[in-house]
Every structure is written in structure tokens, then in C-alpha cells.
């Protein structure tokens, strides 16, 4: 018994920090997701020349909390003939996979729950792919045709696009030779160039495939309102529904983080190796100060006392974060001897800022696309996946490999590698478009029934 106690204590001593981080992620993530939804609604409103949510809090800043309360106190309905256990399990599975995959990610060099995982990026990708079972089983358990159709579409879509995404990851990993997230980012810092420039075709493939994998518009066929009510979520309500919602946005964060780590330089500042661009270090605090100042200016425009105070609080938060960001870059200017001591703080804090900034840009792109593009038809989606993206990604892996060998022969490094990788990317794209054109001709020659696949319903 004593040995067991000893072991337990040992366990806690070793793992208390990651466990605490994990609890923090689980606790904070719903809030973050709520605010992502608010931002999405605001962007949508802006693109459609509306105001968006304005009532709860100044400019609707408290809307996510109101939404959360509404969802939590709603009645939880389980359909009569549903498979109770699976119906209960499915949303939990979906959310669990999303949250678990966050463990492998590194937000800056200092913040990583599972440190130095040998399989790094594969862990994140693999675990987040498990979320599909939540969707498929949920759709099946609801015992409704719309749900089942949504589930079927979702699984077909995921299987098709996962291949392309995996191949895109492989062509980026060819540059690093390691799966560890830290070494991937360090490789980009060593080359002095992000992999988005070295493997543009792979980034494009991953971008499209990640939209399809997260079931976002224009590939949101599993939950297409005009065809399937709400797809696999049709029968879910209240808390269960909000779990699916949480899972969807967590998955968005995960794919955006993977893309950021692998293609957009992770936590590196743009041009981190170029010393005369070091003034970019002052951009993050200045940006936040600008936002805070704007909030202060807007205070007088708020109708009620409470809203004015809230606006001031938001401005104060911005200033505090700006101060935290400014400290590691301003102090060395005042007192150069501090530079060494502040280096880890600089790496951690600014790394975190840039990582979150890039992830936000990626997610913003998702939203932009959602409000711009019309939804695909299912056979068009399948054709895009199988006839364009998968050939493109496979050819790209081959050509990037060849380019790397040629580059190694001529001792090319960093920006010089562009000389060989750019032709490779162009060649891959041309080949993929050729394949698509040939397939289109072939499809046109076949009769119309071939187009309406039996998955499409």
C-alpha cells in the first residue's frame, strides 16, 4: 500500500504541470469558442452590411455568455427510438477527440501540454481525426434519415480528404525530417523561410482539405440546412448540441494550429532571422495599445453606465496585455544588460502572440470563405477530392522529394531552395489540373446517372 502511495506521489510530482494545463484548456476553451462564434457573427454581419449581435453588452461582447446560458438550460431531448447509449456517447467523443488533440500542440516554445512528443504532429492529426466517430455515430443513433445522410456524407468526405491532407503534411515534413513540433518550427527558423513558400502546393491542399475535414462551408454538406435540416445534429438539442458545436470549433483551432506550425512558421515572428526587421517586435504591443485606445474613444458612445464601464474594462485588458508584450522588448532597449535574462520571456510571450495571431488569421480565412462561396454539390465535392486534391498531393510529395535531392546536390539552403521548389509546385499544379481536365471529359462522356452518386442520396 505504501508503495502505491509513493508511486502516486511520484506521478503527481512529475505531471502536475501538464495536468494543470490540461484542466485550464478544458475550462477556458468553451469561452474562447464562444468568442470565436461572436467574431464570426460580427464578420458575417460586416460582410452583409449589418450590425450583428448588439444587445448583450457593448457591441454584443457578452453575447457568448448569454448563448451558453441559453443552451445549458434548454430541454435535453432524446428521440424515442434513438440508441440511447450511442446518442449519449457521440457528442462526448467528438469533443473529447478535439480537446485531446490540443495536448500535442505548442503555443509558443514554452506552452505545450505534452512536451517533446516523438510523434508530435501526427498525434495531433490522428487524434483529431477520431472526432469523425462522434459525427457518424451521432447521426446513426438519432434514428433519423436526415441525420444518417449527414453522417454518411461526413464519413465519405473525411475519408476522401484525410488522404490529401496527410499527403500535404508529408510533403512539408520532407523539409524537417522530424515529427516533433519543436523541431518542425526550429527547422523553419534555421532555414529562415516558412514552408508555405517552400511547399505552396502542399499548403493549398491542406487548406482545402482542412476546410472539408472540419465540415465548414463551402464543404458543409454533412449539415447542409437546405438539404438535410441540420445533418447529423438534427436530433440533438441543448447541451449535446452545444458539445457538437464546441467540437467543430475546437477542430477548427486544431487544423489552424497544425497549418500554422507546419506551414506558417509556428511561433516565429515574420522574418525572425533578419536583424534589421527586429523593430517588428514592437508591433504586437503597439497593435494592442491601438485597440485599447480605440475602445477608450468609444466609451462616450455607449448608451448606459454599465456598458461604458465594460468598454473601459476591455480597454484596460488590452493595455495590460500590451504591457506584458512590451516588457521583454522595451526593457532591453533601456538596459541592454537585461537582454540575456529576458530572452526566454521574449520567446514565450511573443511566440504565443504570433502563434495565436496566425491561427486567428487562418480561422478568419475560413470565415471569409464561408460567407463568400456557395455550397458545393456532393458529387462536385467528391470530384474535387479524388480527381484533383489527391493526385495533386501525391504528385507534390514526389516532386518536392526530387526538388530536395536536386537542392542538396547544388547545396541550396533557405531562400535558395525556392529555385527548385517553385518549379516543383508549378509542375504539380499543372499535372493535377491536367488530370482534372481528363477526368471531366471522361465524366462528360458517361451518361448522367454516373454523376448522381449513391452517396449523394
Amino acid at each position: 500500500m505504501n508503495a502505491a502511495l509513493q508511486a502516486t506521489l511520484e506521478f503527481w510530482k512529475l505531471y502536475w504541470a501538464p495536468l494543470l494545463c490540461g484542466v485550464a484548456v478544458v475550462a477556458i476553451l468553451p469561452l474562447i469558442v464562444g468568442y470565436i462564434v461572436l467574431v464570426e457573427r460580427k464578420i458575417m454581419a460586416d460582410m452583409q452590411a449589418r450590425l450583428g449581435p448588439m444587445r448583450v453588452g457593448p457591441h454584443g461582447l457578452l453575447q457568448p455568455i448569454a448563448d451558453a446560458v441559453k443552451l445549458l438550460i434548454k430541454e435535453d431531448i432524446i428521440p424515442e427510438n434513438a440508441d440511447k447509449l450511442v446518442f449519449w456517447l457521440a457528442p462526448v467523443l467528438s469533443v473529447g477527440a478535439g480537446l485531446l488533440s490540443l495536448a500535442g500542440l505548442a503555443i509558443g516554445p514554452a506552452f505545450q501540454i505534452a512536451e517533446d512528443v516523438n510523434i508530435g504532429i501526427l498525434f495531433v492529426v490522428g487524434i483529431s481525426a477520431l472526432g469523425i466517430f462522434g459525427i457518424v455515430l451521432g447521426g446513426w443513433a438519432s434514428n433519423s434519415h436526415y441525420s444518417l445522410m449527414g453522417a454518411l456524407r461526413s464519413s465519405a468526405q473525411l475519408v476522401s480528404y484525410e488522404t490529401a491532407a496527410g499527403m500535404a503534411l508529408v510533403s512539408a515534413l520532407l523539409f524537417t525530417g522530424s515529427l516533433n513540433i519543436k523541431s518542425i518550427v526550429e527547422a523553419q527558423s534555421k532555414e529562415g523561410i516558412w514552408f508555405v513558400l517552400l511547399a505552396p502546393a502542399a499548403f493549398f491542399t491542406y487548406l482545402v482539405a482542412s476546410i472539408a475535414e472540419t465540415n465548414r462551408a463551402p464543404f458543409d454538406l454533412p449539415e447542409a440546412e437546405s438539404e438535410l435540416v441540420a445533418g447529423y445534429m438534427t436530433e440533438f438539442s441543448g447541451f449535446r448540441w452545444s458539445l457538437y458545436f464546441l467540437a467543430e470549433y475546437t477542430n477548427m483551432i486544431v487544423v489552424a494550429s497544425v497549418a500554422t506550425t507546419l506551414f506558417l512558421g509556428g511561433w516565429l515572428r515574420p522574418f525572425s532571422g533578419v536583424s534589421w526587421l527586429n523593430f517588428l517586435d514592437f508591433a504586437p504591443p503597439l497593435l494592442l495599445i491601438a485597440i485599447g485606445a480605440y475602445c477608450v474613444l468609444r466609451v462616450t458612445k455607449q448608451p448606459t453606465r454599465v456598458q461604458q464601464l465594460f468598454m473601459l474594462a476591455v480597454a484596460g485588458l488590452c493595455f495590460v496585455v500590451a504591457l506584458v508584450l512590451a516588457a521583454p522588448v522595451v526593457l532591453p532597449v533601456i538596459k541592454p544588460s537585461l537582454r540575456e535574462a529576458l530572452a526566454p520571456f521574449y520567446a514565450g510571450i511573443h511566440g504565443g502572440f504570433w502563434f495565436i495571431f496566425k491561427v486567428s488569421l487562418y480561422i478568419y480565412f475560413f470565415m471569409w470563405l464561408r460567407f463568400t462561396m456557395p455550397r458545393y454539390r456532393f458529387d462536385q465535392l467528391m470530384r474535387l477530392g479524388w480527381h484533383f486534391l489527391i493526385p495533386l498531393s501525391i504528385i507534390n510529395v514526389l516532386l518536392v522529394g526530387v526538388a530536395l535531392i536536386v537542392g542538396a546536390y547544388f547545396h541550396l539552403q533557405g531562400w535558395g531552395l525556392l529555385l527548385v521548389t517553385t518549379p516543383a509546385a508549378i509542375l504539380a499544379l499543372v499535372a493535377a489540373f491536367l488530370i482534372l481536365a481528363v477526368e471531366k471529359q471522361h465524366d462528360a462522356r458517361q451518361d448522367q446517372t454516373a454523376a448522381s452518386d449513391f452517396y449523394a442520396g
Binding site: 508511486a7 510523434i119 466517430f133 475519408v159
Partner: protein, 172 residues
């Protein structure tokens, strides 16, 4: 200690869900229990410090093959199948086969332990912190010593892919 706890945890889940998988009437439930069994096996792989295999198991087996299974299960009509008897009249055959198999292996364990140099190896494994980096080691082995089998496996996959497409294709 942690090793032991993890092993019994994952092994318990694996065996229990495997048993449930074979006995469930509903095919979707069977698939769910197979998924948990496979995940538990992945946990065993992790406990054996085979990280790369752990993630391959999850990505390929659970995320690939099992999605395919679930997809096919939902394509073929389940409602009819649920009404039918799920077990063939071979329970006794199965029991005998299983017992024979278990007995055979048990006898093998029993006898091989008595012969010197023939039993199960009793050597202790290399300490975990002295193992090489897993995915690098696997890659080196796969593309160095086992390059030819690797190529053959790719041919096998190609053949299987074409075969599956031909099978599942609608007659024009």
C-alpha cells in the same frame, strides 16, 4: 508501477470490449467495441514505447479502416439484419476450437518452460530512456533493411485498391 497500472487498464478494456464486440447483436455496437479494443491496443503499444505504431494504429486502423467499416455498415440495411439470428449454429465448434487453441498454447508454455534454453525469454528489456527515438528508428528499419517488403506492401495496397473499386463499382 505506472507501467503496471497502464497495462492492466488497457488490457482490461481491450479484452472486455473484444468480448462485447463478438457478442453484441447490433453491428454498430460491435463496431464501437472494436474501436475501443483497437484504441486500447494502441495504448498497449504506447506502454511498450512504440509511439509510431501507436499513432499508426490510431490513424490507419481506427481513423481509416474503422470509418470504412462504419460507413459500409450504414450503407447496408441494418433494420432487416437486426431481426435475424446473429449466431450461426456453430457455438460448440467455436468453443472446441477456442479451447483447443488455448490448450495447445498453454501446453506450449508449460513444456517450453522446462526445457533449458527453450522457454520464454526471461531477459529484462532495455531501459525506456535508452531506446532510440522511435519514429526515426522505425523509418530507418523500414526504408533500409525492409525496403523490398515495403515495396511489395505498396503493390499489395494498389492491387487491393483496384480490387475494391472493381468490386464496389456499379454495373453500367
Amino acid at each position: 508501477m505506472l507501467d503496471k497500472v497502464l497495462f492492466y487498464f488497457f488490457a482490461g478494456i481491450a479484452v472486455a470490449s473484444a468480448a462485447l464486440m463478438v457478442t453484441r447483436r447490433n453491428v454498430v455496437h460491435s463496431a464501437i467495441f472494436l474501436i475501443t479494443a483497437l484504441l486500447a491496443t494502441a495504448g498497449i503499444f504506447l506502454q511498450l514505447r512504440a509511439e509510431f505504431l501507436f499513432i499508426v494504429q490510431i490513424i490507419l486502423y481506427v481513423g481509416g479502416i474503422m470509418v470504412l467499416f462504419v460507413f459500409v455498415i450504414m450503407l447496408v440495411n441494418l433494420d432487416v439484419a437486426l431481426q435475424q439470428i446473429q449466431f450461426a449454429r456453430q457455438k460448440w465448434v467455436a468453443l472446441i476450437v477456442a479451447l483447443a487453441l488455448a490448450g495447445q498454447i498453454g501446453v506450449m508454455f508449460w513444456t517450453s518452460g522446462k526445457m533449458p534454453g527453450q522457454g520464454l525469454p526471461v531477459l529484462t528489456a532495455v531501459a525506456a530512456n535508452r531506446l532510440p527515438l522511435n519514429s526515426e528508428a522505425v523509418a530507418k528499419n523500414l526504408f533500409d533493411s525492409y525496403l523490398l517488403p515495403f515495396e511489395i506492401a505498396s503493390v499489395l495496397l494498389l492491387v487491393a485498391m483496384i480490387g475494391a473499386v472493381v468490386m464496389a463499382k456499379k454495373r453500367a
